[in-house]
């Protein structure tokens, strides 16, 4: 059955309303502080170590993102756990919040489809996350410029920009997951707890569990098969995909994210950096994986929302 009109009618209105809600909310204040503190902590930790290494490194600026100094983790490690928290924080009550405020039926009684409401909420939350991440990225680069006194090269900026894009895609996965749970669970507290629980499982437990599962399911003595299976299983976690992307983007000498075969080393100058586009190709499957996971989770939430009875 074909419905009249565009499913996106009212999308812009919903996006603007949600953006204004996010930017004026207490959550945003917390996010802003998190951004500032993360940038300061990451840059401070990295600068101390970078000063000790050679200034002749052609990718000196990228060390800002990857260098850790005990007890502080590196900037990308910060991102690894900060981004899911931010995304879950913005998405866990997107739909059930409307139910609980009893605004859903009133809003859906206006000339607007559910598609526009859900997608508008997703876009607004992702835009809010993007603004926070861009601010964080600019802060780190700005502080790095001031403290290192060396401007980044073109390829460094391209890699840093790609890191930003991948981080936004990574945020999209957790946001779509949080919105899926906000559609399934009527209580925001339940949605938040389940999303956080799944994040902890996928980030901490799943990578450790995947080799054991690979051994249990693969009846082969071939170590390579076991390693590949374990890696494929581990890649079900968005955190693993993000970590691999970071590896390929910020460590230009990374030639592969899987097992290294002799054939891959033929003619290679060990330790030499790959050009930007080659690094992008190495990370491409992981980037596609993150985007695909976002789409799948959003579609799951969309289907659940479409099938829901709107009584509140």
């Amino acid at each position: 059955m074909r419905r009249e009109g565009s499913p996106w009618q009212g999308l812009g209105v919903v996006v603007l309303k949600e953006l204004s809600d996010h930017f004026g909310s207490v959550r945003m204040r917390v996010l802003e502080w998190l951004v500032v503190l993360t940038a300061l902590a990451a840059v401070y930790g990295a600068i101390q170590d970078i000063r000790a290494v050679t200034a002749e490194d052609p990718f000196l600026f990228l060390h800002l993102f990857t260098t850790a100094r005990e007890p502080l983790p590196s900037f990308v490690s910060f991102l690894g756990f900060l981004v899911p928290l931010m995304a879950i924080g913005l998405g866990f009550d997107a739909v059930n919040g409307e139910h609980n405020r009893r605004t859903l039926s009133r809003i859906l009684a206006q000339p607007i489809y559910r598609d526009a409401l859900l997608f508008g909420k997703f876009i607004a939350a992702l835009a809010t996350l993007s603004v926070s991440l861009i601010a964080l990225w600019l802060l780190v680069i700005g502080l790095g410029l001031i403290m290192l006194g060396v401007p980044p090269g073109g390829e460094e900026m391209a890699r840093a920009f790609l890191l930003l894009v991948v981080t936004i895609a990574y945020a999209g996965v957790w946001l779509a997951l949080a919105m899926l749970f906000s559609t399934i669970f009527r209580s925001p507290a339940t949605a938040a707890l389940v999303a956080l629980g799944l994040w902890l499982f996928l980030t901490l437990i799943w990578p450790a569990l995947s080799p054991a599962i690979a051994e249990a399911v693969v009846w082969s003595e071939n170590q390579a098969t076991l390693v590949i299976t374990a890696q494929m299983l581990a890649r079900l976690s968005p955190s693993t995909l993000f970590g691999e992307c970071v590896m390929a983007i910020l460590h230009p000498s990374t030639r592969t994210l899987g097992p290294v075969y002799v054939s891959q080393l033929q003619g290679a100058v060990m330790g030499s950096p790959l050009p930007f586009w080659d690094s992008l190709m190495v990370a491409w499957p992981q980037i596609v994986g993150l985007v695909a996971a976002t789409i799948l989770l959003f579609v799951g939430g969309y289907v659940a929302f479409q099938r829901q009875e709107v009584r509140a």
Partner: protein, 320 residues
């Protein structure tokens, strides 16, 4: 040409094997106030949601100004203003900003929106608190803000789900006055409620839901005749006169006459027959002391219907 703006034919909503609404048919005419009554879970809200295109129609069809709510929900939603049971607003923004949001969803340009919002808030008596956050509003004020949204939208049909639920008596009276003023403006109103006396005071016709079906439908007077066997009760007190009971029973329109005490007669009739009753007493040579009328009460009809007693039978009909 039909004057009906809402038509439901065999409307059915099924969840698996359970029926929330089953084979419901009714029409609502332009400018009419149509009441949906029934106990909780009877299917009133599901019927409303199907008319709005917010719930799937399993079988049957609905038309709102000729539009199918399933195929043309946007056209239907442009025409309908909906006040849900326990209406919710965004508490952290003002009343005016809440209306601006729905106004933008309606596609009203800013200048037009401002005029509409100011006029609507004035109409429902919330102009002075237009810029206050809705979080500070009482339940009655929220209900009025819900009506302001309908006024702002210039809806041709207002669907009000339990609008007086939880309101204090004065707030209820004010809200019902607002509903009457909407009707006076030509707005068709579908009203769902279980507060029967309030429904009775504003509705032109009602449909009584039971178990997902419409059990009874019509004007309160017609339902009174159907369920109570004559909805009007006229009580006559007189002395003297001969054969007053027989004379009263012979009047066309009188269903039953009983004599609960000496010199006191109780008639159930199809209409207000106080004039004819007084004439009978005088013609019989009696002296009339008192004449009173009880209109058919929706509450009595409702209670009687759900008690399964059907039409009143305890009094012996005198009329042929």
């Amino acid at each position: 040409m039909s004057n009906d703006v809402v038509e439901a034919q065999g409307l059915t909503r099924r969840y698996g094997t359970a029926y929330a609404v089953r084979d419901v048919s009714f029409t609502v005419g332009a400018g009419e106030i149509f009441g949906l009554l029934g106990p909780n879970g009877a299917g009133k809200t599901t019927t409303i949601l199907m008319l709005l295109g917010l719930s799937e129609i399993s079988a049957g069809k609905a038309r709102v100004f000729g539009h199918d709510p399933m195929r043309e929900p946007l056209a239907v939603k442009r025409l309908i203003g909906y006040l849900p049971d326990t209406v919710g607003f965004y508490d952290n923004i003002s009343a005016a900003d809440n209306l601006h949001y729905t106004g933008r969803l309606m596609g009203f340009p800013l200048a037009d929106r401002k005029k509409r919002i100011a006029a609507a808030l004035e109409r429902v008596g919330l102009a002075e608190v237009a810029n206050k956050k809705v979080g500070t509003f009482s339940r009655g004020m929220r209900q009025r803000l819900g009506l302001a949204e309908i006024v702002m939208k210039d809806a041709r049909i207002a669907i009000l789900d339990e609008p007086t639920n939880g309101l204090d008596p004065q707030a209820s009276v004010d809200l019902l006055d607002l509903i009457r003023s909407l009707k006076a403006q030509g707005v068709t109103i579908i009203l769902s409620s279980h507060l029967l006396d309030r429904v009775q005071s504003v509705c032109d016709r009602v449909a009584l839901f039971n178990g997902g079906r419409i059990a009874l439908m019509g004007t309160v007077e017609a339902l009174g005749r159907e369920v109570l066997g004559g909805g009007y009760v006229v009580e006559v007190e007189a002395d003297g006169g001969k054969s007053i009971a027989d004379r009263l029973a012979a009047l066309p329109g009188v269903r039953t006459v009983s004599e609960p005490a000496a010199g006191r007669w109780r008639m159930t009739c199809d209409r207000d027959m106080r004039g004819e009753a007084a004439a009978v007493v005088v013609a019989a040579g009696g002296h009339l002391h008192q004449l009173s009328l009880d209109r058919p009460s929706l509450e009595t009809i409702y209670t009687r219907y759900f008690q399964g007693q059907g039409p009143q039978r305890e009094e012996v009909p005198h009329a042929a």
